[in-house]
């Protein structure tokens, strides 16, 4: 038992666990829509795009949060804007923009000749969360979760049948940009835990695991949150006892849960076909 309680004697561990729980819940809740709307690649793009914002903020001595947030929001809106040109495919942009942003980030950090801080930007450092960071994480998460709760009904409709949503007067562009905006918020919060490279994993893996076990949206969200929190807290313990990188430990933990869920599904429903999402969704109209 003391193995579980021992780490809690340290203030920074207590803070990390609280942050991990909040980040896990936020990533999983929003991640549910990200996965189901086949936006996982957009999440990937946004996570990588945060790097130059982080580096610029770091070089200028400003808030890393603000830097990352600005970079991801600009990228999200930029991708949405550029994709309006029919000659530029959205998936091409999503493949291209993060690489360019990532390169800018690396280029900037290389001017400082110090790669020590780059490591925590890339791979996260939840054990280094400060009191101020925690307050910001709480604020961003509260706003994002509240938005998710308030627009849950419309998000469902927009995901199942965007055209019908449009015919009844819902501004689907507003919904689309809204999702991108809150995805940016979530990414910025997730970066604190697992860094730019691994945040997408926290958005996607717990949901992918939950999707294997249930076909009910509400249950899927709750299960995803539980899996994300378990991964985040489990990763902190592993990191504490084995001295491993916290971000990577969290992601590996999530992957293990996915593996267990896959085994559980195949043991309990051996004859049922695992649901395969079709890839047609990307053609949906947002005009």
């Amino acid at each position: 038992m003391h193995y579980l309680t021992d780490p809690f004697q340290y203030e920074f561990i207590r803070r990390a666990v609280v942050a991990a729980v909040i980040i896990g819940v936020l990533c999983a809740a929003l991640g549910t829509f990200v996965v189901l709307r086949r936006m996982a690649v957009v999440g990937h793009a946004l996570t990588h795009s945060a790097l130059p914002g982080l580096v610029i903020a770091y070089l200028m001595g400003g808030s890393l949060f603000a830097g990352a947030l600005m970079a991801t929001v600009l990228t999200a809106l930029g991708i949405g804007f550029l994709a309006r040109d029919e000659n530029v495919y959205e998936d091409t942009l999503v493949g291209m923009v993060p690489n360019v942003m990532f390169a800018i980030g690396i280029l900037l950090i290389s001017t400082t000749k110090s790669f020590r801080d780059l490591f925590s930007m890339l791979f996260g450092n939840i054990l280094g969360v400060t009191e101020g960071d925690l307050h910001l994480i709480m604020l961003i998460s509260a706003v994002s979760l509240m938005a998710l709760f308030l627009f849950y009904k419309e998000l469902k409709l927009f995901s199942v049948d965007p055209n019908y949503a449009k015919t009844i007067g819902i501004r689907v562009k507003f919904m689309h940009y809204g999702i991108l905006l809150f995805l940016s918020f979530t990414v910025v919060v997730g970066i604190q835990a697992v860094g730019t490279v691994l945040t997408n994993a926290l958005l996607v893996i717990p949901v992918a695991a939950a999707r294997l076990l249930t076909e009910r949206l509400g249950v899927m969200m709750v299960l995803s949150c539980i899996f994300a929190v378990l991964s985040a807290v489990g990763g902190i313990y592993v990191s504490y006892y084995f001295g491993s990188a916290s971000g990577a430990s969290i992601v590996i933990f999530a992957a293990l849960i996915f593996g267990l869920a896959w085994i559980a599904r195949n043991l309990s429903f051996p004859r049922k076909r695992v649901l395969k999402p079709d890839t047609r969704r990307s053609s949906e109209s947002i005009n």
Binding site: E154, K156, N163, K166, T167, I168, E215, L217, D278, S285
Partner: protein
Amino acid sequence: MKFPYCQHRHSTPDPKSPALEIQGLGVSYSSEGKFALRDFDISVPAGSSLALVGPNGAGKSTLFKAICGLLPIRKGRIRVFGHPLVACHHRVVYLPQRSEIDWYFPVSVLDLVVMGRYVYLGWFNRPGRRDIEIARHALKEMNVLDLVDRQISKLSGGQQQRVLIARALTQNADLLLLDEPLNAVDVSTRQTVAEVLHKIKAQGKTVIVATHYYNQEEGRYDKAIYLKDGQKCII
């Protein structure tokens, strides 16, 4: 009373006006692209039924999408119950082709059908007991009440179609635009759809059905219009 999502006022239908009146309509998918529908005129009296017949790509879906505001109008005008489009959103319901819906999204049949009530709820309001009652009633009418808790991913083609029509019924619209409701469905679904359309018409509502083969439905509609390459054609 305001229409909750777009804040337009509800307009009372003008009793003397046809349910749908289109003059010189031109619609295209991009601002400079080829017209998918051109010089299209039509007048559909309230309480009548119309079959819109034509091969795939003839412009049937384009016409429906223009009527319910999904595509911008480049030329001409559309009036619904004597009013411009935005005033009558709630009075028009568009039943898309089945392929336009994400059937893998994890919601139940009831969830999907209740979405037909959202138009009256607007932002922040959750569907209440009455909305659920209306949805269940619509499912009963389509003979699929037993599927109420099933996930939409587990429906057959015919069941999907019935559920979609049930959703259209819950909106309680006066002008129904049904895009290929009888395409690739079983005989019993075909029969149920025909009965329900008949019932809707008897309630004084207007039904327009797009279909690419007309023989089997002949005689069920007051009128049929043939479309080819985005234009009305006479056979």
